[in-house]
């Protein structure tokens, strides 16, 4: 795929268009155009329905600012848009269970094929705890990962897993649109 994100946004400047109209304007194949549109939609810059695409408010802002748009990970939205990730499944498990520890989640979710599951999930739990999603349980498990938590009523914001962007030190909740700046220092993987 040839990445032409900004050009695709510019092609939508005058209003909604069909995939084949964008492809014709930019001299691209329809497949390549769809491949460009998917990441833009995932980032909330383009709204797509039944082959018709239009800019969102964020898309207009990016276009007006002339900011380059990359095709890489989506600034903390990756968990929401990839529902099979370990963190997305962990969020579902947290909503199902009354209380949980890291060991509980690993025992429920991991199949042995994950890379550094304890580090990944442990960091995710601590990030969400720092953002105020959990309350600690007084009864702790014995063992390496004995800390137990429960998702609070206010923390159970909806079905989409909050995304933790470790590099930027933020948690973004797609259910509420809120962003929590939690910093980066405390979230190195503990094993």
């Amino acid at each position: 795929m040839t990445w032409r994100g900004l050009s695709v946004l510019a092609a939508l400047r005058d209003g909604p268009k069909l995939t084949r109209q964008i492809a014709a304007d930019l001299g691209m194949s329809s497949a390549n155009t769809r491949a460009n549109l998917a990441p833009l939609a995932a980032r909330g810059l383009v709204r797509s329905r039944e082959g018709c695409h239009q800019l969102t408010r964020e898309g207009l802002e990016v276009l007006a600012a002339g900011r380059e748009v990359t095709s890489g990970p989506g600034m903390g939205k990756a968990v929401t848009h990839h529902r099979g990730t370990l963190r997305a499944r962990a969020w579902r498990a947290m909503r199902i269970r009354d209380a949980f520890s890291l060991d509980d989640l690993m025992l429920l979710l991991c199949d042995g094929g994950e890379k550094d599951a304890a580090g990944n999930l442990g960091g995710y739990i601590r990030a969400l705890a720092a953002a105020g999603y959990f309350a600690p349980m007084r009864r702790q498990h014995v063992g390496r990962h004995g800390e137990r938590w429960r998702l609070t009523l206010a923390g159970n914001t909806g079905p989409e897993a909050p995304a933790w962007n470790k590099a930027r030190g933020v948690v973004i909740d797609q259910n509420t649109g809120r962003t929590f700046a939690i910093g980066r220092r405390h979230f190195a993987a503990r094993r």
Binding site: R92, A93, I96, L109, E160
Partner: protein, 250 residues
């Protein structure tokens, strides 16, 4: 540490797959039942996190309205308005999404002539959602009284006590000390294959091993030790070096 795929898990997965591939759209219900502590909720939760199922735990005071409100909350929909309107909104949002619905502790949907279960059945019919009901061993006969509901159940899975092989796998995966084959068989005997009891016994063995500085534990080191308690007969369950377990170990 990871999820242990037991024989119950394999049978449940096969049944869930069969329900998803069903012929009649309205026969979209599945019943999972078994003794307490047999790992039903654990296995169904694992599946629910994989497929993104909506998961509800029924309560003793559930009513049809209460069910709709809880369903709306887990689906991220505002649970307001009259029941008929809420039902329509939920059906509109969830129909065709292929998102399954799990109802744990499903016994609590049966009071008042199964009013809540009728509402669930109605919702499943109209939205074509797959519904997994999870309950204790007697739920099967209780649900069978309601033929209009039972005829919608495409698959029934009974969770049986874990086999010695399953208990051995759990010991390998969970215990932070090494357990001999004979001790794993003894854990199976003491727990009667109930997973909840297996976890308690492993925790007890780990505590004893830590106190005594043991890296590997065998039946001989624990002979006569109380690792579990039978509350029905009020008798302790102690480790014993039986001929059977010793023979099977070899």
């Amino acid at each position: 540490m990871r999820f242990v795929k037991t024989e119950n898990y394999v049978r449940f997965s096969q049944a869930a797959h069969a329900v998803e591939q069903r012929g009649a759209a309205e026969a979209g219900m599945m019943l999972v039942y078994g003794l307490p502590g047999s790992g039903k909720s654990h296995v169904v939760s694992n599946w629910a996190t994989k497929v993104g199922a909506l998961y509800l735990r029924a309560n003793v005071d559930w009513t049809p309205r209460y069910f709709l409100v809880e369903l709306a909350k887990v689906a991220g929909i505002d649970p307001y308005g009259p029941s008929s309107q809420l039902f329509s909104v939920l059906r509109d949002r969830l129909a065709g999404s292929l998102t399954p619905l799990v109802i744990d502790e499903a016994e609590f949907t049966l009071p008042n002539n199964a009013a809540v279960l009728e509402k669930i059945r109605d919702f499943s019919d109209r939205s074509e959602m797959t519904v997994v009901l999870v309950g204790m061993e007697r739920i099967r006969s209780k649900v069978a009284r309601y033929q209009q509901i039972f005829s919608r159940i495409a698959q029934v899975v009974e969770f049986k006590p874990a086999s010695p092989v399953d208990v051995g796998h759990v010991c390998d995966e969970l215990a932070e000390i090494e357990m001999t084959q004979a001790l794993k068989l003894e854990v199976h005997r003491l727990s009667s294959g109930r997973m909840r009891e297996v976890l308690n016994i492993i925790a007890n063995i780990e505590r004893i091993a830590e106190t005594n500085g043991l890296k590997q534990v065998d039946v001989g080191q624990l002979e006569g030790t109380v690792l579990s308690y039978n509350w029905e007969t009020c008798t302790p369950r102690t480790v014993r070096r039986s001929a059977k377990s010793t023979a099977r170990a070899h």
